[in-house]
Every structure is written in structure tokens, then in C-alpha cells.
């Protein structure tokens, strides 16, 4: 199924379009809640910003990966038999 690069490409396309779709949905949602069609319950002001959760999720994961790779790994990486001898 995923051996065919065409399929992987197709999957990626679906994924990228759904990501964009979500951002569009967020605009619709903000529009509707501002028009008081839907009630919106938020705890913080910044939750109302367009794409706050999207931005947070993306940045959080990029930071997570970069810190793990460039800070944590050099600090803690040892050979697999480090404790054996």
C-alpha cells in the first residue's frame, strides 16, 4: 500500500488539504461565534485568535524535536553497553 510512492504522495496531499481545511473551518467558526450563532466558551483571550491551537501545536512540536535532537541527545547519548562495563 505505502510501497508505491504515488500512494504516499496522495496521502500527503489529503493530509495537507485537511490541514488547510481546518484553518478555513476556524475562520467560519470565529465568524459564526462573533455573530452569536454558536456560543463559544473560552478561558483565555488568546484562545479566540485564529488558528491559536494550530500554531501552538506546530510550534510546540518543532521546539520539542529541536530541543530533543540538539540539546538533550548530545547530553545524554551513550553507547548501548554504557552500563555494562
Amino acid at each position: 500500500m505505502f510501497d508505491d510512492p504515488q500512494n504516499v504522495k496522495r496521502l500527503l496531499k489529503i493530509f495537507f488539504s485537511s490541514v488547510i481545511f481546518l484553518l478555513i473551518l476556524d475562520i467560519v467558526y470565529i465568524f459564526l461565534s462573533n455573530a452569536h450563532v454558536i456560543h463559544r466558551h473560552v478561558n483565555y483571550k488568546w484562545e479566540e485568535f485564529w488558528g491559536f491551537y494550530a500554531f501552538f501545536g506546530f510550534v510546540a512540536c518543532v521546539i520539542l524535536v529541536l530541543v530533543s535532537k540538539y540539546v538533550l541527545r548530545p547530553l545524554v547519548k551513550r553507547k548501548e553497553d554504557y552500563y555494562d562495563n
Partner: protein, 596 residues
């Protein structure tokens, strides 16, 4: 009144009888134990049962309230599922250890007093270490030994706390304790060790991945969750727990990203999930405690499911390192599917179980942050949101991706055995069922619930968070920045006792032992020369005095030598004429008299 049976005894005694059954009867018997236990549980009324007088202590072996009942239900459910999962192993040690372990956990959560709680708490350690040793590899042996040491220490800390608490208050009741004096802190930290608090945590990531395939599933359910229960019972609303929980939720995800052993990745994410529960208990409002308990309930199921799917991978391929795996979806499609359900649940996708419980804790943190003096809860909320994105990243994507997709490792194996698939299927079903229809779960939480997870905003925001985390993963992977899995070991705080401890031991061995030998030789030299000196000191002093007299008297050469020899021998052998001895003594007395 007590026609009921103690839930712990059903498991422990039932478990000990397993070796007497053979073949099919054994399978049926083992499955009946948790079923019988569950039915028994349904008929026990609320309140205290099995009151035992033990000297001056009043022990309550069975205390049933909503909190203990919730944990009891899920412990029975996961035992049932895990038993199905390990049916094909035909290993009595594992069966018996599993039941004793589960029974001990049940005993601990139903204990109505601190003493019986402690007894079952210690039993947990015994059951769990057997599950680690049952793997029978060298790594498992030493990891099990370290596990035992840490928990024996934790048990001692807890016991010291309980003893002090009893002498101060005269009570063993399991009531709320405030952190004021040494006894409360000892109990707090004793539980904290089992709860895998940061720095105290490495027993978990060290030992769990070394246990047997089924053992890890058992382990993931009981020890930490019993500790969560104990914190909810004894320390609800203790503010320190909020920050401890925040640490637990945050730091393991960094390790999980670079870890190669996939069961160890899950062990780190286990700490991360328990972090959410600990934060909830620390906040201590009804919503927060409910969230912590609901999340414990769900975590037992989805974490068990994830460990089961990884166990199936080990069972079929014999490998668990991300570097050795990949492309298994072709050979193990069902396992892949169940693993993805577990991954979606832990990541809190809408319609999966994590979605309906994790958000309760976050909501409680957000509500708390608006209260006076609790503004710092905003940080708690932000870190938990960060951890939510992170957990999807490592447990939600990394685990299925590296095991079942990713680069094709070329491994072609059979699908997992039927019993394993059934066990995973039940767990997966429950994860989705709770996610879609959370009402039954909410109805058994400690407090009345008025919480609705399925608001449009919650669904949309959570989906955004997860999809953009996935986007980050995808882009980083395509750009080649994502850290490639490498065969390596990542040191954690167990370094303190595994390396530093060893180094210290060796240093002491190299420095102190020669020092010791050196000091010993000095002492020996001084002592023996003193002894040699005093052996004939009297004779030598007398000779020194006498020789001067003899020289004055004109004795020379040979005669002098003879006289010297004779005096020396006489003094050593005590054969001096009595008169001389008396004269010396008198002279000495006179001298003393004159000089003083």
C-alpha cells in the same frame, strides 16, 4: 453482613491455585477469577468491612467508596484483558505473579487504614519484580534488582512516615494529610517514588521495558495508578503536586522523542500521562479530581493497549528497537489497527477515550487560573497543552509509524495470536466506546459530573492542535531534520546510582582500600616496635644504670660482658634475688616520696 469476599484475596488465593489446573480448565479458571471478583465487587455495599483488631490497631481491610470503587472496576477490567492476552505463554510464574500483583493493587486501594495499605503496597513490589524477573534475561535480572532496591527504599520511607504519623496522631485512618511535619513528607515521598515523580522515576523507564511481554502490560496498569489513587485519597489539593505533575507531563516527552526502544518510549509517555493525573489531584477541585480519576481509568486501557501491541510485535519479531522495525502493517494489520486506536486515544483525538478525560484536568487548571492567587496556573495550562501536543507526537505518531510504517524492515511475520488480538480488540473497543459515549464513565467518578467534552470549540481546537503537531512531524521528517533513530542509550537520573554510585564505589575501592592498608601497616609497625621495646625495657634501663656503676668499679671486657648478660637474663626471667627487687621497689617509693 460480610458474606462478601475480600477482592484482594480472590486474586491472590485464586492466583496461587492456578498451577493445579491443566489445559482448558486452567484457561477457564483464570478468566473466571476477575469475573468472579467483579461480580463480588458489585454486591459489596458502601462503607467499611472486614474490621480486624490487631493489637491496639484497628484495621479496616475493605473500605468502599466511589473513589476506591472506580479504581477497583478498572483493575478488574484490565486484569481480565491482560489474562486473555497472556494465555498463550503457558508460564505459571507469570500467571501467579500477575494475579498476586493485581490482588495487591486491589488490597491497597480498598485498604481503610494505613497499616494494611502498607502491607499490600509492599506486596505490589513483590508481584511486580517477579514479572520482571520472569523474562529471564540478564538485563531483566539486573533491572529487576534495581527496581527492587528502589521500591524497598520507597517502602521504608513510607513505613517510617506511617509509624511517625501513628505515634503523633494515634490514628491509622486513611484521611487527608496536610504537608506540615516530617511524617507527612515521608508518606508523601514514599508514595511519590511509586508514582514516578521526576528524578525518582527511572525505576519505571529502566524496568518496564525489560519485563515479560505480558508483564509490562500488568505493570503499566497497577503500580503508578495505585500511587495516583493514594495521592487522591491522602493528598488531594496539595499544591506541590501541581508542579510535580507539570514536571512529569513535560520532561519525559523529550526523552521519548530520542528513545529507540519502543516500549521505553511508552514508559516515558506513561510518566507523562500520570503527570496529568497528578496535576489534577494537586488542583483538588471536584472537576480536577474527577479528571484525574477518569484519566487514570482511560490511561490503564489505552496504555495497556499500546503495550499489548508492542508486546505482540516483540512476540512475532523478537525485536522492539525502532531501528530494527518498520513496515509491519503488511504482516500484522490487526495489531496495527489496534495500536492506532491506542495511539488516537492517548493523543485525545475526538471520539477516543483520552479526549473525554484529559480535557477535564486542563479545564480545571484554566478555571483555577482565574482565581485570586492562582494566576500561575496559566503556566500549568500552557505546559499541559504543550504536553498534549508532545504526547501525540511521540506516542501517537512515533510508535505506530516506526513499528508498522516507516521504512520497510523486510520483516515478514505472522499476525499476532488470536488471544492477543481478542485482548487488544476488547481494549480498543472500550477506548472507542468511552470516547463516543463517556456517560457510563462519568457516572462512576468520585463526584457528580457536569462536564460536556463535545463542544464544537473543544473538538475543533483539539483537532487543530493534533493535526498541526502531525504537520510538524511530517515536515520535519520530509526535511530530514527529524532525529533519526540510532542505536544508543540515553542516560537518565538512574545514572546517579548506576554510574555515579558505581564510580564512587570504585573510587572508594581504589583510594580508601590502599589508604586503609597503609594505615594498618603504620599501626602494626608502631604496635610491634612498642611491644618489642617494652618486652625488655626494664632490663635495658637496669643495664644502662648498672653498666655505669660497673665501669666505675673497674669491670672491663669479658667480665663486664658476663655481668651484663647475667643481669639481662635475670631481669627477663624474673630470677633476680628477692632483696634486689625489694631494694628497687623501696628506692622507687622513696624517689616518688622525695620528688612529690
Amino acid at each position: 453482613m460480610t458474606t462478601n469476599i475480600l477482592p484482594a484475596f480472590i486474586f491472590i488465593i485464586g492466583g496461587l491455585l492456578i498451577p493445579f489446573f491443566k489445559g482448558r480448565a486452567k484457561t477457564v479458571y483464570m478468566l473466571l477469577i476477575p469475573v468472579a471478583g467483579f461480580i463480588n465487587l458489585l454486591y459489596i455495599p458502601f462503607g467499611d468491612h472486614f474490621l480486624v483488631g490487631f493489637g491496639e490497631f484497628k484495621l479496616v481491610l475493605l473500605h468502599i467508596d466511589r473513589l476506591s470503587l472506580l479504581f477497583g472496576y478498572i483493575f478488574h477490567i484490565i486484569s481480565f484483558i491482560t489474562i486473555i492476552y497472556i494465555l498463550n505463554f503457558k508460564n505459571d510464574v507469570e500467571y501467579v505473579a500477575g494475579f498476586i500483583y493485581a490482588g495487591a493493587a486491589l488490597g491497597a486501594i480498598y485498604a481503610g487504614d494505613l497499616f494494611s495499605f502498607f502491607v499490600f503496597w509492599e506486596m505490589l513490589t513483590i508481584g511486580s519484580v517477579m514479572l520482571i524477573w520472569a523474562r529471564k534475561t540478564k538485563a531483566a535480572q539486573s533491572a529487576g534488582f534495581r527496581y527492587l532496591m528502589v521500591h524497598a527504599f520507597g517502602g521504608l520511607v513510607l513505613f517510617a512516615g506511617i509509624v511517625m504519623h501513628f505515634t503523633q496522631t494515634g490514628s491509622l485512618e486513611m484521611l487527608k494529610i496536610t504537608l506540615t511535619d516530617a511524617s507527612s513528607y515521608l508518606i508523601f515521598f514514599g508514595i511519590g517514588i511509586n508514582c514516578a515523580w521526576p528524578i525518582l522515576h527511572p525505576w519505571l523507564t529502566d524496568a518496564y521495558p525489560e519485563a515479560t511481554i505480558g508483564g509490562t502490560v500488568f505493570l503499566s496498569a497497577f503500580t503508578t495508578k495505585t500511587a495516583v489513587y493514594a495521592l487522591a485519597r491522602l493528598f488531594p489539593g496539595t499544591e506541590a503536586l501541581i508542579w510535580i505533575g507539570v514536571g512529569m507531563a513535560a520532561f519525559p516527552i523529550f526523552y521519548a522523542v530520542i528513545e529507540n526502544d519502543l516500549r521505553r518510549v511508552l514508559a516515558y509517555s506513561l510518566i507523562n500521562q500520570v503527570g496529568f493525573m497528578v496535576v489534577g489531584i494537586g488542583i483538588g477541585t471536584e472537576l480536577a479530581i474527577n479528571g484525574a480519576c477518569a484519566h487514570a481509568f482511560n490511561d490503564i486501557l489505552f496504555k495497556g493497549l499500546l503495550f499489548m501491541s508492542m508486546g505482540a510485535v516483540i512476540y512475532r519479531t523478537g525485536k522492539i528497537k525502532a531501528t530494527d522495525l518498520g513496515g509491519l502493517y503488511k504482516s500484522m494489520p490487526w495489531t496495527t489497527l489496534f495500536c492506532c486506536v491506542g495511539a488516537a486515544s492517548i493523543s485525545a483525538f475526538p471520539l477516543f477515550s483520552g479526549f473525554v478525560s484529559k480535557s477535564m484536568v486542563m479545564e480545571a487548571a484554566a478555571e483555577g487560573s482565574h482565581l485570586v492567587g492562582q494566576g500561575s496556573y496559566v503556566i500549568v495550562w500552557l505546559v499541559l497543552l504543550f504536553a498534549s501536543a508532545g504526547v501525540f507526537h511521540h506516542a501517537g505518531i512515533k510508535i505506530p509509524f516506526f513499528a508498522f510504517f516507516g521504512h520497510d524492515s523486510g520483516l515478514r511475520v505472522k499476525e499476532a495470536p488470536k488471544n492477543m488480538l481478542i485482548a487488544m480488540g476488547i481494549a480498543a473497543f472500550l477506548c472507542i466506546f468511552i470516547g463516543v459515549y463517556p456517560k457510563p464513565l462519568y457516572s462512576i467518578l468520585p463526584f457528580q459530573v457536569d462536564y460536556h467534552p463535545y463542544s464544537i470549540f473543544h473538538v475543533l481546537s483539539q483537532t487543530e492542535l493534533l493535526f498541526f503537531s502531525a504537520l510538524a512531524f511530517t515536515l520535519l521528517l520530509l526535511a530530514g531534520i527529524y532525529p533519526s533513530e540510532i542505536r544508543a542509550l540515553n542516560v537518565d537520573s538512574d545514572w546517579i546510582y548506576r554510574k555515579l554510585g558505581k564510580t564512587l564505589y570504585n573510587t572508594f575501592d581504589k583510594v580508601l582500600n590502599p589508604l586503609n592498608t597503609f594505615c594498618e601497616s603504620i599501626v602494626m609497625a608502631v604496635a610491634s616496635s612498642t611491644a618489642r621495646f617494652f618486652k625488655d625495657a626494664g632490663a635495658k634501663i637496669s643495664l644502662f644504670v648498672a653498666v655505669n656503676f660497673w665501669l666505675l668499679a673497674g669491670y672491663r671486657d669479658k667480665r663486664l660482658e658476663i655481668k651484663k648478660q647475667r643481669l639481662y637474663n635475670d631481669i627477663l626471667q624474673g630470677t633476680l634475688p628477692a632483696g634486689i627487687g625489694a631494694a628497687v621497689a623501696i628506692t622507687f617509693v622513696v624517689l616518688v616520696y622525695v620528688l612529690t
